[in-house]
Symmetry: C2
Amino acid sequence: MTQASAPIDLSQLRRSCRACGLLELCLPAGIDQAELERLDSSVRDKRTLESGGMLFRQGDPFHALYVVRSGTLKTVVQDADGAQQVLGFHLPGEIVGVDALAHDTHQSSAEALERSSICELPYSRLEELTSQIPGLQRQLLRIVSREMVAEQSHVVTMGRQQAQERLAIFLRSLSERYGRLARDTTHLILPMSRYDIANYLGVVVETVSRLFTRMEDLGVLRVSRKVIHILRPDMLGEMCGAGGARERAGRAS
Amino acid sequence: MTQASAPIDLSQLRRSCRACGLLELCLPAGIDQAELERLDSSVRDKRTLESGGMLFRQGDPFHALYVVRSGTLKTVVQDADGAQQVLGFHLPGEIVGVDALAHDTHQSSAEALERSSICELPYSRLEELTSQIPGLQRQLLRIVSREMVAEQSHVVTMGRQQAQERLAIFLRSLSERYGRLARDTTHLILPMSRYDIANYLGVVVETVSRLFTRMEDLGVLRVSRKVIHILRPDMLGEMCGAGGARERAGRAS
DNA sequence: GCGGCCAATTGATCTGGATCAGTTCCGCGG
DNA sequence: CCGCGGAACTGATCCAGATCAATTGGCCGC
């Protein structure tokens, strides 16, 4: 490890991050700049997907992790009887493909919701690097664990029985995540369809549509197709937690 | 201690596995027996929990991973407004605590559903070992990824809108998991309460109770409190996939 | 501008599961 | 053996959200 004394050039770093995406993830791993640059050079591969393009499909052999550089992806599973479930949406800077680490095969499909640019990290190269850079290994573990926690929040969201709470939680979390990309967290652009949102939340499209209308009537937000303007973040927050409704189902044991 | 050339003594290995639990997880990592034994000796710490006892609580600092040796645990999250959500049940041989890797803090609580014996793996010790045993690191990554995939299946389950499908999927998966522990997969013992099951599936207790009765009436299984006897695994399987019902909600995009 | 197409919205109706209110079952301590 | 207490089950009712059926709105190619 290098001079703890010389502080890392953050702005330059950010630029590389923007350029590749992975590096952002390595930041907390205590990796110094020289290593970062070395890393960057090895993962510069990029891909561009049109809207609807598939990054990988369920069952594909695993050979790389991916970082979204721009655009948005969704991950979807299709089970035996053809039912689909949207697992998540992936914004710029977020990682995709972690589900394949366990079985050497992708357990879900990743599809672009709009023109997207993706940074590909061949796993063979990554393994090489992790053996050289001790902090990276740990960081990788953190990332996967973080993905697991994200999946858990999804479960918690779907555990809510009021559809309005689910949607409110979804919008709030989206707003928070956009916060890393834009200053204004009150204007959301939803690249996913109403069908995707509905499926993600475990309700039907009509319900999502009606809820948007209801929220608009309540003065919580303004809707115009792909754009949501949150007028009252406080009210949205209230709607997340048992919004005036009675207690949740089955408090355990 | 053995030589790397000699094939691993599987039966002896299994015994150690049973004894500690972690080792099972390392099996595919290409670790030789000498290393396994070294590993075993360092993680032999055990704990016993009575029914209702907490292994860790949401917010606790992270310092160890755990493997269930005997008994059953449940993991639960409690969000801001006090709503609880059961995330999962953990049978003997399964790992718990992975959710803390990302944030150095447990994101959920783990509670024993019956008298349980737990094997504790201090993370500091684990880190030490991973630096010495290359395959272990990779294996750890796999394990966390596997946990993530498990969480994804939970999402898929909760995405089903027919409560009966959810319960059927739950029972089937439980039956499969018990298969690793007992020959007979048609007799399930449910250590968790109906409340836990309901909460896990995102329905209310009454619904679970009624569904059990309905399934019994259909001749799919026999219920007597904690014991479920699956009479017709084939019918149970059918009930998992759009059992005669119409198509699932919002096929995406 | 016009027509076709598809996503989104709205309206009307139906129903599965939530809610409310007991009742039954079973283990346990006296 | 009896009475108590908590979990599980059942029955009656209600309602949020699913389903079915149009309608609207926006975009694109002609």
